[in-house]
Symmetry: C2
Subunit: 205 residues, 2 copies
């Protein structure tokens, strides 16, 4: 068995959460290294692309969150074998990443009025459109899961994103945005959130 370590920030969400959940659901023993934000500047230059999450497998580093999710998905049986179903899984993960980057692009805005304006443009435009398109994809895939008629890393990626969007951590992003524009994603969120291994994971922390 490979020695696996996931390096990410110390909170329940963001780009590292899907891989953490997949490893727990798949029962893979791994080191869950959680980096305090205060320690990040010292660690950053050592990381490929100076970003997290990073997966370490037998001492070798892998960067890029969706690349990590895909590798972990194969390791845990949470990634489709069929090429088309795999492509649907990939497409959704990339779509979430698109939205994540747009939102992350507002983190550095110092002026509060400017931040408010930028985030309202996102919420009314690209974030809304992306949520609606994800809902369409969910419907096309049968309504329960995004690919392969079962839980995959795509579901965990969307789950973590909706969790972030509803968290209230992002000023001027209405926490009820998903409820209003893509209610099926809320039903999907609850489906993942009540998965016995997801319940057990959050209960254990």
């Amino acid at each position: 068995m490979a020695k696996v370590k996931l390096v990410y920030f110390d909170f329940h969400g963001g780009r590292g959460e899907p891989a953490r959940l997949a490893l727990h659901i798949g029962g893979v023993t791994f080191e869950d290294q959680r980096v305090a934000f205060s320690d990040w500047p010292a660690i950053k230059p050592q990381m490929p692309y100076q970003a997290l999450p990073v997966l370490e497998v037998d001492g070798k580093l892998l960067a890029q969150s969706n690349s990590i999710n895909r590798f972990v998905g194969k390791l845990t049986g949470l990634y489709p074998n069929d090429p088309w179903q795999a492509a649907l899984c990939d497409e959704i993960m990339d779509a979430v990443e698109d939205s994540t980057r747009l939102l992350a692009g507002t983190f550095g805005i110092k002026n509060d009025e400017e931040k408010k304006a930028a985030r309202q443009v996102l919420a009314d435009g690209p974030l809304r459109l992306s949520l609606q398109q994800m809902q369409t994809r969910l419907e096309q895939s049968g309504g329960n899961y995004f690919a392969d008629d079962r839980l995959t890393v795509a579901d965990l990626k969307v789950f973590a994103w909706i969790k972030d969007l509803r968290s209230g951590n992002f000023d001027y992003i209405p926490t009820d945005l998903t409820n209003r524009v893509a209610p099926l994603l809320i039903a999907h969120f609850e489906r993942v959130n009540t998965h016995p291994k997801v319940v057990a994971y959050y209960a254990s922390r």
Copy 2:
């Protein structure tokens, strides 16, 4: 055999070029739909996530360029079977996408001095760092190809990116940036550029 159509803009580069090249190299018959920029506003609302490229397979649409590259890579034998080699392939494609987005983020800047400043920050910072990290990855993978000791879609993705960076199409991005900061990527570019099927493809257009 599936009926395949690739929809992308009418130029030799950008996010659609790796899949076009892979389909040509793999000898897959496909419809190469090239959208004129003047036609794009009318087509845009019909596309998932309102973006290109889009791959159509037996009438079903797939969005997200790297998801398309991966699916096409499997179709053409240009994607690794081994999970770790596949992960290295994925990581590089995602890294190119990171840089592509940063550069695309400057397209809308109207003021020329502002555009110049923004692009100089990119060229001296994240684009340079990313090129250096890609060069390191290339060296770690043996120096010739990014994964699996052979040509994969990762090589085509980096090839198209370096082609774009050297094109002179982006004001204030020095065309010799790659030569200066990651010369092994230039040797890699020439390796792909002189691949007989790549030569034949560009000669035919």
